[in-house]
Symmetry: C2
Subunit: 414 residues, 2 copies
């Protein structure tokens, strides 16, 4: 996972606001706790395009089922997205499905839009029904209070409304310089992929741009961005019933070069993915594993993910322990066919293992490499040609496994 | 993983001793800590057969390399096995390989056996060289002190000598009733698959029988036993550089029906596998996941292992939390194509989820199901025909993930 810094001249940071054409509103239906916002509504102008990636879990939640169908029926167009926190509406049977449908119908009716143009997702407790008697009236109120960035609206209220176990709202934005001196914007919010209360799960992200981009291209840009970001992080390896990434394009700022727009989407998505990892439950220290010179790019990813997900590596990282044997052992069980004697391991730039033997290394430098806020692991698997080594490389981001993670997830709440 | 109880008439428990024909001895080379046994030697009569399963980790330790070669060269025959704890002799380069070879040569010379008939393994710290100056003289002393069960020798000293982070020795034995009123014995020892000190790893098991059985059949019996036991457990999912299971047959008690012998091997291996899980670091509570009615047996295993290995399930188990949503969600991400509406979930015999909906269940019964020493999870995936449901079933054993596991594994030791 990486953001590219060589394009600061055409992609730059931007205020944390929704791009032009979008209007947002939040509300409170006391779904889990009274007095905090737990509903977020985002609306787009007629003709806005939409794309989404949904969980591959067989037990996808009811709202995922509805959104998947609507996106297909509308051929990638949308007028609104309604999200709630505090209840995942997952494992809720036919009643859950009817409730998800009722949420989109309430939005569609209030906005005068077609039902199939409204998307929906939920996050929170699994196996509990939504309090529709409080949600439907609140949706009506929210549609009357939609505000745009021109009205001074920022990303933050929406980012806060979808938080569950997150300790901070997650937002990022970029400005893209297009031909003719025009600008378009890309902005995004996310909620984390962890659980503090035992019944909670889900990562959700919403990316939005005012660029004009057809549904098919938007889908490609979204997949590219997610692949470089949300698909390269792990907190606990559990794919939830509600995971989703939405992308919307209002089109009001005009067309833009796809490659540059894709770069802005990727940067925003990578920002959000890093924020998710660094707000993982019990977070103390992040780690990244970069693998180069693998037999293929897929192999590089497999080794990087195996090392970054190893419980033994992750606990050692938490302990600040320069325990490179676990890193080498995890690489060796990744089911990738490389020659063991080709592996070189560096942590924080310090060479630790080469030719199947430990390397003499300065003890203080090694200790420092394992004790910062971030532990930077680099594994080279033998391709010496610079270009090939770079092509068959990948990076995965995770965090140390902490006693606090276990404590929070073992907590009895029912 | 299961032991069969319907054969108690022909396979029964037995004293915890090595079978006839085996002689054992332990010694202390102060490899990691002075004053405790850290070497175990097992010898067999000429003509004894041998089989072994070794780690698939690309960074297999030096002794694994030596044993693999010797087993191949001897075509499945052995005269001795030498094991040490306190140092894994892994990631130790050419010098480590020479040291492993020196260990087997020292045993072979003292016993007057061919070098290729001696097998070896090590367990303990990775990346550290063995203290050969203390090991070689100790081997000479041990070969002079070999004792058999007839001399009153039991499994325990050997089982203790190979312990690293284990809190108790792991031993099991069975007596097999053969035709003609004869008996043969199967006995085994094991050390655990966990880490308390950050550099330690490895599970090792040694199974022995006095039955007469050719090398090829022994290999088949061993694979069958390991498949039902050691391949159906997980403590942290990390395959170590030194994992191995050895099987030896002295042949002195004569031939025996393969199916009955296989059953005895399986029972001993299942006993040892359960002991490993229940002695995992920070152990508080075990869990088993039985999946029936899957599309295939491999699919049943995949679902069972995914659920049993899920961090979210394992932390919930530690908390005694009746959090079935996590179990269902883990089953749904196992990449097995079943119909969600076919899944039925029972925990401790209590039906919790059916037809994609929670089932009404007695709250106290549910709480009890999640709060015993063992949590028994049953997942049915739809095949209603009893025979087919049984055929496409499998069971996986694991334990709750505890804060103590994380604390022990994050501890700084270098």
């Amino acid at each position: 996972m990486s953001t590219t810094t060589s394009v600061t001249d055409i992609v730059s940071s931007a205020p944390l606001q929704w791009p032009r054409g979008f209007r947002a509103s939040v509300g409170s239906a006391a779904i889990k706790k009274a007095g905090r916002d737990d509903l977020g509504l985002l609306s787009m102008p007629s003709g806005a395009t939409a794309a989404a990636l949904f969980t591959r879990n067989l037990f996808a939640a009811a709202p995922i089922e509805v959104s998947r169908r609507h996106l297909r029926d509308s051929r990638g167009h949308a007028s609104a997205l309604i999200l709630n926190s505090g209840c995942a509406n997952a494992a809720t049977g036919p009643r859950g499905l009817a409730n998800a449908q009722e949420m989109v119908d309430a939005v569609a009716m209030a906005l005068g839009a077609a039902g199939e143009s409204v998307l929906v997702n939920s996050t929170g407790v699994i196996g509990v029904q939504l309090p529709m008697d409080r949600i439907v009236p609140e949706i009506a109120r929210m549609t009357a209070n939609l505000s745009s960035s021109e009205d001074g609206g920022t990303l933050e209220p929406f980012a806060r409304a979808i938080m569950t176990t997150d300790t901070k709202p997650k937002m990022s934005a970029r400005r893209v310089h297009c031909s003719g001196g025009r600008f378009v914007h890309v902005a995004g919010v996310a909620k984390g992929a962890g659980m503090i209360r035992p019944d909670m799960a889900t990562m959700i992200s919403v990316l939005a741009t005012d660029a004009e981009i057809d549904a098919q291209t938007l889908d490609r840009v979204l997949r590219h961005a997610a692949d470089a970001s949300f698909h390269r992080i792990s907190v606990d390896g559990d794919t939830s019933t509600n995971d989703s990434v939405f992308a919307f394009a209002s089109g009001v700022a005009g067309a833009c070069d796809e490659a540059v727009l894709a770069r802005a989407f990727r940067e925003v998505a990578c920002d959000l993915a890093k924020m998710i990892v660094c707000d993982g439950e019990g977070f103390e220290r992040s780690l990244s594993v970069r693998v180069t010179g693998a037999p293929s790019r897929a192999d590089a990813l497999r080794v990087a993910e195996t090392v970054a997900s190893s419980l033994l590596v992750r606990t050692a990282i938490t302990g600040g322990d320069p325990n490179w044997g676990r890193i080498v052992a995890a690489a060796g069980r990744a089911k990738v066919a490389f020659r063991p004697s080709d592996l070189e391991l560096r942590v924080g730039g310090v060479l630790l293992f080469r030719d199947c033997e430990p390397c003499p290394a300065d003890r203080d430098a090694v200790r420092a490499a394992f004790n910062g806020n971030h532990v930077d692991i680099e594994i080279s698997l033998g391709a010496t040609d610079g270009h090939e080594a770079e092509a068959n490389s990948d990076t995965f981001l995770s965090c140390g496994l902490t006693t606090e993670y276990v404590r929070l997830n073992a907590e009895y709440t029912t």
